[in-house]
Amino acid sequence: MTDLYEAQRAMRNMRKAALQRGVIAILDVGTSKIACLVLRFDGERFMGGDGVGALAGQSSFRVIGAATTRSRGVRFGEIDSMPETERAIRTAVQAAQKMAQTRVDHVIACFSGGSPRSYGIAGQVDVEYDTVSEQDVARVLASSDVPEYGTHREVLHAQPVNFQLDHRSGLKDPRGQIGQSLAVDMHMLTVDTATIQNLLYCIKRCDLEVAGLASGAYVSGISALVEDEQELGAACVDLGGGATDVSIFMKKHMIYADSVRMGGEHVTSDIAMGLQIPFATAERIKTFYGGLVATGMDDREMIEVGSDCGDWEKDRRTVSRAELIGIIRPRVEEILEGVRECLDAAGFEHMPSQQIVLTGGGSQIPGLDTLAPKILGQNVRIGRPLRVQGLPQAATGAAFASAVGLCLFAANPQDEWWDFEIPAERYPARSLKRAMRWFKDNW
């Protein structure tokens, strides 16, 4: 547990240092593309009073550099070939730096692989004095019963979702309130250690310092869900290249996250296999002519498949759009069914509001808004990420939901476990503080 504190706190300090310098990079390592945004923080110039200001604090930063490159060496959102991924990250970072005309040293990264797993954990302590202090919050967080999540896994997020003071539940911030027993509900997200370590190694090889890590499911949720959806409860489905992330939000906190290890690349490979064409051509055909609902018109619309094998017959093949849809649709249905399973496992049907927001590059496929309600339920909409200042037009699409969400995460992250100070009992080394407390209690 202490290791985790140290590593995460080190990243938080790095983030603080980066904000002081004013420039920070955002790196979204996806299966099909790697996006890098460079943010400039101008301080609290446009902020209103008391922390939350104009545009919920988004106006404090500005995107000054943006670059996207084709991802290499990433499968299912996990790094498969490190040198290739390192090169791809280098390409993206260098292009973004060139656009920003500045050098960035700190990077906040997100990824969607590593088979994220959610745990809801709870803890309870007695309040030491009459009012709840910061120390009590730290103690209650530390007292929560952490399940055995395995030695090969690492905690990525651990956010206190709900505080309960005696019989009052649903507290956002119990500090300063009067009560006897303080309880907390936490949401903890773990991912494979190897995935994180590979990513950290790649970033380190690019001479960058990691100032934070986030799950792709979480960050695409905070950018694609509007504020009332986050408050009332909604699920965000990020249809990515190699993995489809599912996150459920409630009261502005993520309470569940999972991922389906299927995505747009699988659709492309289905097309490539079905039509016997190269991968690049399949990708092109998918993005230009892809769809999910076939009509009579689509039977007559013939698509030049093309190839350059030298055989005239093979090079001049055509397929109808209906055939293409016939290849795409089963795979998308499979993905959405996987999402449905995730939501069922999370108990999404018990939520008060059952809004589902589809985002990510895969959500741009035409006809998804008619297919998805059949599988996921009626409240489905296609979501695009929030607009942030200075974002180029090319990067405002649904495929950039997690990159934009990461910007918001970088600007004002939610409180996590490690943002509270370590309770004094856990400090074996710093016994001076305990001695002070002993004096305070007995004199």
């Binding site: 090169r87 390409t91 260098q94 730096q97 060139k98 050098r103 090889r205 690019c206 001479d207």
Partner: protein
């Protein structure tokens, strides 16, 4: 004979034949000849190499950028110059060359001064000036020390002010304003001409040389020339008869007329006293009478001294009046 590349014989696709087949044939021939075929071109990797990436980041570092663009060039130039100047020979060569260029430019005909022109000075004064400011022409105008020369010229008594400049055409122009003599001062050393401020202008051998100038005398007279000139101006009708002014005791003036008549003026307000005398003269013809001196030292009580003959005559007339005789 030049070795022939078999690919030259491969038919193009337009010439009736498959280019691919021809290429394959060419490749086979090349392999038989033992040529190693160039490696097939791999798709270009868009990723920057690690070194290129690092260099790029280094270049985007603001401090490094500033150093390389501003400081490094200056440092390089300074280092080159410093190294060159480190050698004694180079230093002397440099200074010699500078001096050579300087003299070449200074001795250009545009800057040469060929003659001197003096305006506003009388002939003897011009002689004096030429003697003092002796320059052997032609000379470069950079070598002329005009302020020094001006000082020397202005030191001459007869010069009130002088202006020096080098005129176009290489002429050293000297404009002189001469002092105009206003009075002649007779002192124990001889006759000297003074201007209106009492400054010496020149010596005068004979009084008769300048009969138009009034004469002053006495100790300290040269320091009160202004007052003397004011008196002379206000003397008006007395002027034809005036011989000169005499400074008495370095504090007051005597006006000496012909026939040895003297008007003694007071120390304070001599002009008023003189005006009083002039008025008396005009009303009563005072000075036309047998008067030796008019004493105005106490302006409220003018006193007249008669000559011997006039005194006798007065006594005689009084005796007739009283019926007595002093004889």
């Amino acid at each position: 004979m030049r070795p022939v590349d078999p690919i030259e014989f491969a038919k193009g696709p337009t010439a009736g034949g498959s280019a691919r087949v021809s290429e394959a044939v060419a490749r086979a021939i090349r392999a038989r000849r033992g040529d190693t075929e160039a490696a097939p071109q791999r798709p270009r990797d868009p990723a920057p190499s690690r070194a290129a990436y690092r260099m790029n980041r280094l270049w985007l570092t603001p401090s490094f950028r500033f150093f390389l663009r501003r400081i490094a060039p200056m440092a390089a130039v300074a280092a080159c110059v410093g190294l060159w100047f480190a050698s004694e020979d180079n230093r002397t060569a440099f200074t010699d060359q500078i001096a050579l260029w300087k003299s070449e430019i200074q001795n250009r005909p545009e800057f040469m001064v060929k003659l001197m022109a003096i305006d506003g000075a009388s002939a003897p004064l011009a002689e004096d000036i030429r003697e003092i400011a002796a320059v052997d022409f032609p000379i470069s105008s950079f070598d002329l020390d005009l302020p020094e020369m001006l000082e020397q010229i202005e030191d001459l008594d007869a010069v009130a002010s002088a202006g020096l400049h080098v005129r176009a055409g290489g002429i050293l122009q000297i404009d002189i304003t001469e002092r105009t003599p206003a009075v002649i001062w007779r002192s124990s050393a001889g006759l000297e001409m003074l201007d209106a401020e009492g400054h010496r202008v020149a010596e005068l051998p004979h009084r008769g040389d300048r009969p138009d100038l009034p004469l002053i005398a006495g100790e300290g007279a040269e320091r009160a020339v202004v007052e003397a000139l004011a008196l002379l101006k206000s003397a008006g009708p007395l002027l034809p008869r005036m011989r000169g002014l005499v400074r008495v005791g370095e504090r007051r003036w005597n006006v000496v007329l012909d026939r040895d008549q003297v008007i003694m003026l007071p120390e304070e307000n001599p002009l008023g006293a003189l005006a009083q005398v002039v008025a008396l003269d005009q009303a009563k013809d005072l000075l036309g009478r047998d008067v030796a001196s008019v004493d105005m030292r106490r302006p409220t009580r003018p006193t007249v001294r008669l000559t011997e003959a006039a005194q006798d005559e007065l006594k005689r007339l009084r005796g007739v009046e009283l019926g007595v005789s002093y004889r």
